[in-house]
Symmetry: C2
Subunit: 357 residues, 2 copies
């Protein structure tokens, strides 16, 4: 197996397969070491690739007869469509036919298909879906990136699982997002150590024990976008609802803007004058710059790109995936988790026993 072979779900997402293929081709042109396996309707893929300049590029195609759409119910579809591109893709990963996967398809189906077909990293109890968003730092020129996990793979988590998410997030921030010493925070309802339910209080005390980590304590919902932490850890239920609420708020701001735009000529002029500045803000918030968010905890790395991804996002997702392979992300997570499992399990067990008796 070539270490830099990345499997691409060519059929997943609103703009599949056209933009997916285009993005992958762009990525291959930027990185000569990249090898790609396209999974999907072979005929369509071939036809589409003919339109692109693919001379000298390193790729193969694996046919998949079915597709899980964005509207499909994840649970049902993953079971009912064994030949869907995402299922074929995760099986290929399990068979070591590639080292990472990029998909812009149905998020729930991607997570479930991974859980079904992939082995978790030894010692990692649960998988986590991460979200990556731009953080508003003091310097507007350097927006930074925050990784928040979990945002929907594991709805309720034990303290140990949350600590493992922290470790996975730290490695991703350090090795892929290039944050030298990631600041880690626990999402909670207040800053004090005693805040939140029992599980969060226990998580706080475990996170303090991880060496070499810049644990800055609890952060609240209002801090999430402020860039005060590089890694934010939370249960999947909270993370999912928070993330979607922020997306909803952003969409609504845009809608409100459009409504104002339509209503008056003076407003139109106002917006026109602001356009260059608004474009800058938009660029900073543009998810396609970040390519996608990782699904962590499995033996292979998965990058889940936004369903609306165009070529640029897919290209960036592939380059991120390749960087994670070059940085040996999975193995470095495995080593750390196993080390801390030993330390923390015993600490945690001690705490629990002290509490009970």
């Amino acid at each position: 197996m070539n270490r830099n072979r990345i499997i691409v779900d060519a059929m997943g997402g609103d703009n599949a397969p056209e933009e997916i293929l285009k993005g992958a081709v762009f990525a291959c042109k930027e990185s000569s070491t990249l090898q790609v396996v396209f999974v999907g309707d072979e005929e369509r893929i071939k036809k589409q690739l003919k339109k692109l300049d693919i001379k000298g590029l390193n790729f193969e195609i694996v046919d998949a007869g079915d597709v899980i759409t964005m509207e499909d119910s994840p649970k049902t579809a993953v079971e009912a469509k064994p030949d869907a591109s995402i299922n074929v893709a995760t099986r290929l990963l399990a068979e070591e036919k590639g080292s990472a996967l990029v998909s812009a398809g149905n998020t729930g189906a991607t997570v479930l298909s991974c859980a079904k077909n992939l082995r978790r990293i030894e010692g990692v109890e649960r998988g986590a879906l991460a979200a990556i968003f731009p953080a508003m730092k003091h310097k507007a020129s350097d927006p930074g990136k925050t990784i928040m996990l979990d945002v929907g793979a594991t709805l309720q988590c034990s303290p140990l699982q949350l600590v493992q998410f922290a470790i996975m997030g730290i490695h991703y921030a350090r090795r892929v997002l290039e944050v030298e010493k990631p600041r880690v925070a626990l999402l909670n309802i207040g800053e004090e150590e005693t805040k939140g339910h029992e599980g969060l209080v226990a998580t706080y005390s475990l996170l303090k024990k991880i060496e070499d980590t810049n644990f800055i304590g609890n952060v609240e919902g209002k801090d999430v976008l402020r860039g005060i932490a590089d890694v934010i850890v939370c249960e999947g239920m909270v993370g999912n609802i928070l993330l979607k609420a922020l997306e909803g708020a952003a969409e609504m701001s845009v809608e409100t803007g459009k409504r104002i735009w339509k209503k008056s000529l003076i407003a139109k002029l106002g917006f026109t004058l602001l356009a260059p500045k608004l474009k800058k803000v938009k660029k900073r918030l543009d998810y396609s710059e970040y390519g996608g968010a990782p699904i962590l905890g499995f033996e292979k790395l998965i990058i889940k790109s936004h369903g609306r991804s165009k070529a640029k996002a897919i290209k960036n997702a592939l380059l991120m995936a390749e960087r994670s392979l070059k940085q040996d992300l999975v193995n470095s997570i495995k080593k750390d988790v196993q080390q801390y499992n030993q330390v923390l399990f015993s600490e945690y067990e001690k705490d629990m026993v002290n509490k009970l008796y």
Copy 2:
């Protein structure tokens, strides 16, 4: 006891006691049936009231020697400062010296002081802190209001507790916010009935059984501001983090706007042209229009106003509190909860037994 006697924490909030007193005086002028009990530093209150036109108004003052500040840790302060205005106020409520309470003070301390001194409505298992926010409906002229609960009083909730929150929210929406037939939704990670953890799936099936209720199913984080539900039910952990994230996002939009404003003359002109429209949006989002959010589940109603409240918000909070008294909110909640406890407990117990054996 006069039914319309409302206790006011005169010392709570960033603008206490000046704006609190002013707001209460305004409310008394609008409603001749309103009676107010001010709790706080008697001398300061008297001195301040002298500056206001209080002729013919119906109020008394109860001295309280201490204050819990916005920076105090709620848990510690409620215990350490028995004579703080909020503690004196909740004790007065417990002694039937008033029927409702308005405070703009430390939210956590208000909730804890209520939990400490007040009896819960018979049959209600947990108290809930609600948030009320403007909902963007189709008609921009009628923004509507959404009540979401819990946002921080009960971090983790059983299905039955969530159903009780729904009942309390429905009554508040109907009787105080004047929504004729409130649409009720459960905050979850997806729309389907099977989404979310076990507790949420159970809650969904219980909510379906409540008669005369417009239960519209699950809503996601992105729907919260869209006004598709009038009552949104969630666990306190999720609700608190979601609410603060939205507040944070709003603050950050304003900051970004200010940064742009400062940077260029053209941008200044752009904003100036947009000013009338932006003002309209701001007015729609202005919390002071809604006065405050209720803490529900206790024998007395508490309205928690925003810490930054000025006179207008306090006036509206008092008028809302009086409306809830006139509408007999607490008793109507009590009746409904007791009725549904009977129906649902047995249903719920049956379900649980079926699941276990």
